[in-house]
């Protein structure tokens, strides 16, 4: 049997190592490489190197192709002290990745050098339980959940489309949900608009949706916008949101939302539904079409997207 020291010595012959100073310098020069944190979740919670992708050593072989698809992509791996990253780099090399490098001294040396680190807002025990099923999805994990908790999504309309989106996004732990609607809850809404309850009939939809969201997930901050979007207020309302979920129910507003989103470079998740048919797409300015690319002229009155 070979000792671990022997194995490490062997791998050292095969896998190049770089110092933390070199990694920092390469980052500062904007060089193209993936910085891969292979430590465990609890180690990462205490802090990580900015820009690093996190795949714990145990999940590495299973998950690496979610992050790196090009076998010739340069990958610099780090762990706490520089040993696990060396072995992990060897595993990746054996899988066919050609340019894997280990950061000598690991995160500890990075800290000693006084280089910048980042830390996700620590989650409470309750949050660790609440989102535990997200953590099991390797593409989400704690890092993905931290992103969701920091995200700000604006829901246009709290009706048939906005309601389920609001409920699911609240459950998933999107940190800030803006809800925009000028209507009051009517009994005929309740058959499909699941963000509203019988007790809420007659009250503003934004207020009713806020109550539902808060009782589902107190982590979510709700920003009610009890108004109708207009050219005068749209830019102000959009400000600060990362993403717009458009479930609005009339064509003039759709065009307004589209134009404002292109002008402010915000992505729209766009849905519409009519009777038994629905459609969904994502409009990301300049990356794909906008609403006007698809419908240069507005559809005539009588066709109602709701």
């Amino acid at each position: 049997m070979r000792s671990s020291a022997e194995i490490i010595e062997e791998v050292r012959q095969e896998i190049p190592e770089v110092s933390v100073d070199e990694v920092k310098a390469e980052q500062d020069r904007g060089e193209d490489f993936v910085l891969l944190d292979v430590r465990d979740d609890d180690e990462r919670r205490a802090g990580y190197i900015p820009g690093a992708v996190h795949v714990s050593r145990g999940m590495l072989e299973l998950s690496i192709d979610d992050y790196v698809t090009d076998a010739d992509q340069k990958i610099i791996l780090y762990c706490a002290g520089g040993v696990r990253s060396l072995l992990a780099a060897k595993s990746l090399k054996d899988m066919g990745y050609t340019d894997t490098i280990s950061m000598a001294g690991g995160y500890r040396s990075w800290l000693t050098a006084g280089y910048p680190t980042e830390q996700d807002k620590p989650m409470t025990h309750e949050q660790l339980d609440r989102y535990s099923r997200h953590f099991m999805l390797r593409q989400i994990g704690e890092a993905g959940q931290a992103k969701l908790l920091e995200s700000k999504v604006l829901l246009l309309g709290a009706g048939g489309l906005g309601s389920p989106a609001a409920v699911y996004l609240a459950a998933a732990g999107v940190g800030t949900l803006g809800v925009l609607d000028s209507d009051l809850v009517e009994i005929s809404n309740l058959q499909r608009q699941i963000a509203h309850r019988t007790e809420a009939i007659g009250t503003p939809k934004v207020q009713s949706a806020t109550t539902t969201i808060k009782s589902l997930n107190p982590d979510v901050k709700v920003v009610p916008h009890q108004t109708r979007l207009k050219a005068e207020n749209v830019l102000e309302v959009f400000e600060g949101y990362d993403l717009i979920v458009d479930g609005c129910d009339n064509f003039p507003t759709r065009y307004l939302v589209n134009d404002a989103a292109v002008l402010t470079n915000k992505t729209i998740v766009h849905g519409s539904i009519s009777e038994f048919e629905g459609q969904v797409t994502v409009l990301k300015p300049y990356d794909g079409p906008c609403y006007r690319c698809l419908y240069p002229a507005p559809p005539p009155p009588g066709m109602v997207p709701s």
Binding site: D66, Q139, I140, G144, K147, L148, S151, V153, L161, P164, A165, Y168, L169, A172, V174, K230, A231, V234, L235, D242, L243, V245, G247, F251, P252, T253, Y255, L256, N258, D259, A260, V262, L263, T267, V269, G271, F276, E277, G278, Q279, V280, T281, V282, L283, K284, P285, Y286, D287, G288, P289, C290, R292, C293, L294, P296, A297, P298, P299, P300, P301
Partner: protein, 76 residues
């Protein structure tokens, strides 16, 4: 819609950019259409005509349809 939002926020998978998914609940069928950006689009095209918001989108829409000249038919 919520799933698409979550994918975009977390930065995973392939978001529905340039694709439209149509769902028919009666037939329980999904169809997907490829969509591409129109370089002559008035808003996001190479030479955009719309570089700011209109003053009043309701009025613009009403002008387009409600006050449309007689004989103008609804496009399909």
């Amino acid at each position: 819609m919520a799933t698409e939002a979550i994918k975009i926020l977390v930065g995973i998978g392939s978001p529905l950019i340039g694709r439209l998914v149509l769902y028919d609940a009666l037939r329980m069928q999904f169809r997907e259409l490829k969509l591409s950006r129109d370089t002559s689009c008035p808003v996001c095209g190479d030479k955009p005509e719309v570089t700011g918001l209109f003053e009043d989108y309701d009025a613009w829409y009403d002008d387009y349809w409600v006050n449309a000249p007689a004989g103008q038919e609804a496009a399909d």
